[in-house]
């Protein structure tokens, strides 16, 4: 089966991130891993592109991020953990509904053509 990448993926990335975060808070790297895991290895996501999506979602108030404090004496970049907000949860429900409708309509058309 062909891998899903590029624009196909980008259009739905925010919805997928919301869906992943509905299972519990996570930092960027973990979100990428979860997406990879749930995508059965067919998602060809360039991991860096996850962050603009996270920033857009945070700006819109759908998710909230907080820095993880490092234990004293350990240096290096901190991780930022994101969790879904109630607004994000509602947005996810809306997008899921819209996605199901889209799949039904397009699926019906494609079925009829075969």
């Amino acid at each position: 089966m062909n891998e899903i990448s590029g624009d196909t993926l980008r259009g739905h990335l925010e919805m997928m991130v919301l869906a992943v975060l509905s299972h519990g808070e996570a930092h960027g790297y973990e979100i990428a891993r979860r997406l990879e895991e749930h995508g059965s290895g067919l998602l060809e996501l360039k991991e860096g592109t996850l962050y603009p999506a996270l920033y857009r979602l945070e700006e819109a108030g759908h998710i909230r991020g907080r820095w993880e404090e490092k234990p004293t004496g350990i240096r290096g970049p901190r991780r930022r953990t994101y969790r879904l907000t109630p607004k994000g949860l509602r947005e996810l429900a809306l997008r899921q509904e819209s996605w199901r409708r889209f799949v039904n309509v397009v699926g019906g058309i494609l079925e009829a053509a075969t």
């Binding site: 960027g28 991991e47 592109t49 962050y51 999506a53 920033y55 004496g73 240096r75």
Partner: protein, 259 residues
């Protein structure tokens, strides 16, 4: 590890956004690359291969840069449009950076001596336009009145800029170490201090005018208001330009990678 840091910098440096937002991007992207690199090592890859794999999975800097830029709100992008141009003149601006063992007061005074004479042509231009307009509309001021206004605002600007640099350099820097919420309060405090200084400055100018009543008092007020509106822009632009590059450099260098 330096390769990872360089890659992050390739992505983030050209993005027009506030320094705080860019630092968040840097730290987060670097953390991601580091995690990928560590995972590669744990899977038995050699160091070079682990770095290559982490960078490959991360994506193209050009695409990522454009997407990050698009995620920055427009209101934030506009004020930072000036920074890339400022960065190119970093070398020329080196004399303005803080010297070792230099006190905040001494540095503020040094910057005042540099910045305000360079603003003088702007001051003169603005006032020439204002006085010219008033003269053309039959509300002209005498030369001594013009000179008094200009001198008052020049002195006030010097005081405001002095206070502002001291605040940015010392108080804000000290509070930054106390945590992000305090940092935010300090940043807002900086703007409040500037506003108070401007109000006090305007008050001082009013006192100067009131001490020497003019037959054109209504005109005096027009000039005062116009100049008070222009002054924040004059003070804020050099302050942003002077502090942004230094802070950007320092903050990124302070992000120590190896434990």
């Amino acid at each position: 590890m330096r390769q990872l840091k360089v890659q992050v910098e390739r992505v983030v440096r050209p993005v027009r956004a506030s320094i705080g937002r860019k630092m968040q991007m840097r730290e987060e992207l670097l953390g991601h690359l580091e995690a990928g690199y560590q995972e590669g090592l744990a899977n038995g890859l050699k160091e070079e291969d682990a770095i290559r794999r982490a960078l490959e999975r991360f994506g193209s800097p050009g695409v990522l840069r454009a997407e990050l830029q698009a995620s920055v709100p427009v209101v934030e992008r506009v004020p930072y449009f000036v920074l890339p141009f400022h960065a190119r003149s970093t070398e020329a601006g080196q004399p303005l950076w803080r010297r070792d063992d230099e006190s905040a007061l001494r540095r503020a005074w040094r910057l005042c001596r540099f910045v305000l004479p360079s603003c003088l042509p702007y001051f003169a231009g603005v006032y020439a336009l204002l006085f010219g307009y008033l003269a053309a509309s039959g509300k002209g001021l005498s030369l001594s009145e013009c000179a008094r206004f200009m001198a008052a605002f020049y002195v006030v600007s010097l005081a405001c800029f002095f206070l502002y640099v001291v605040f940015l350099d010392e108080v804000q820097q000290a509070l930054e170490t106390a945590g992000s919420s305090v940092h935010r309060i300090a940043r807002i405090g900086g703007w409040c201090l500037l506003a108070i200084a401007l109000l006090m400055g305007s008050g001082a100018s009013i006192w100067l005018i009131a001490g020497n009543p003019s037959p054109h008092a209504h005109v005096s007020w027009q000039i005062l208001v116009a100049a008070s509106v222009l002054m924040p822009a004059m003070l804020v632009c050099p302050a942003i330009a002077l502090t942004a590059d230094r802070k950007r450099r320092e903050e990124w260098e302070n992000l120590i990678l190896d434990g």
